[in-house]
């Protein structure tokens, strides 16, 4: 199944792009997605990352479904 991963701020700088299409297996979790991203963009592994699924904060064991919009970003700093 296919998901879209979005990058913002520092993660976009590291990835050198603002989004990435990923193929993942049924039952994949946020952690699975992170592992795949670390292999594609190794410097991401050095960051303390947050992950969201369909615009809601998710945990590492949250299940990813086909068509989900996943975002990976460092600590927010608005205000």
């Amino acid at each position: 199944m296919q998901i879209k991963v979005l990058f913002f701020g520092a993660t976009a700088d590291i990835a050198g792009k603002r989004s990435e299409e990923l193929q993942v297996n049924e039952g994949a979790t946020a952690k699975t997605v992170l592992a795949e991203l670390f292999s594609r963009f190794p410097p991401l592994a050095a960051q303390k990352l947050h992950i969201s699924i369909d615009q809601e904060y998710a945990r590492e064991d949250s299940i990813v479904k086909n068509g989900n919009e996943v975002a990976v970003f460092t600590a927010v700093s608005g205000g």
């Binding site: 913002f8 969201s52 615009q55 975002a71 700093s77 608005g78 205000g79």
Partner: protein, 151 residues
């Protein structure tokens, strides 16, 4: 900026008129609004070294859909926690010159104590949960802000 007396949250790439934001949250039974006006400051102390750096300008980037969702969650939570009437939150994105407003949070309440408490709570939470990132641009480089630790 026409609706008066309702909650709202917005992202905008243009200048923010603090006055208009504050006045949009005012219902007729309230007598006071508390407003937090955050803006791009020229000098920032680097946490690790204590060095004072001069910022040339800022760039804010938002995950727009999720940022608005998180702001609406904060508004709902604030209504549960505090006796308040209306809340307005406007956050700017894109490039900001020094001195320009980055965020305005206005809270109207029958009693000003609740307006102060809610406004202070909202800015603290916004800085920890709303997906917006600030980049500081210096004469000799740039850095994404590391945000604010939960307290």
């Amino acid at each position: 900026m026409a609706t008066v007396g309702m909650d709202f949250c917005e992202l905008t790439t243009g200048p923010i008129n603090v006055n208009l934001v504050a006045r949009r949250v005012v219902p007729p039974e309230c007598g006071a609004t508390v407003t937090l006006d955050g803006y791009a400051r020229r000098f920032t102390k680097v946490k690790t070294t204590g060095e004072i750096r001069e910022t040339l300008y800022l760039e804010y980037e938002a995950y727009e859909g999720m940022a608005l969702k998180e702001m609406r969650k904060l508004i709902d939570a604030a209504h549960s926690k505090f006796e308040i009437s209306n809340i307005g939150i406007v956050h700017r994105t894109g490039k900001l010159e020094i001195g320009e407003t980055s965020v305005v949070i206005s809270v109207a309440a029958p009693h000003r104590k609740d307006a102060f408490a809610a406004c202070e709570w909202l800015i603290k939470e916004l800085k920890q949960t709303v997906p917006i990132w600030k980049k500081e641009v210096y004469a000799d480089g740039e850095a994404w802000s590391e945000g604010e630790a939960a307290s």
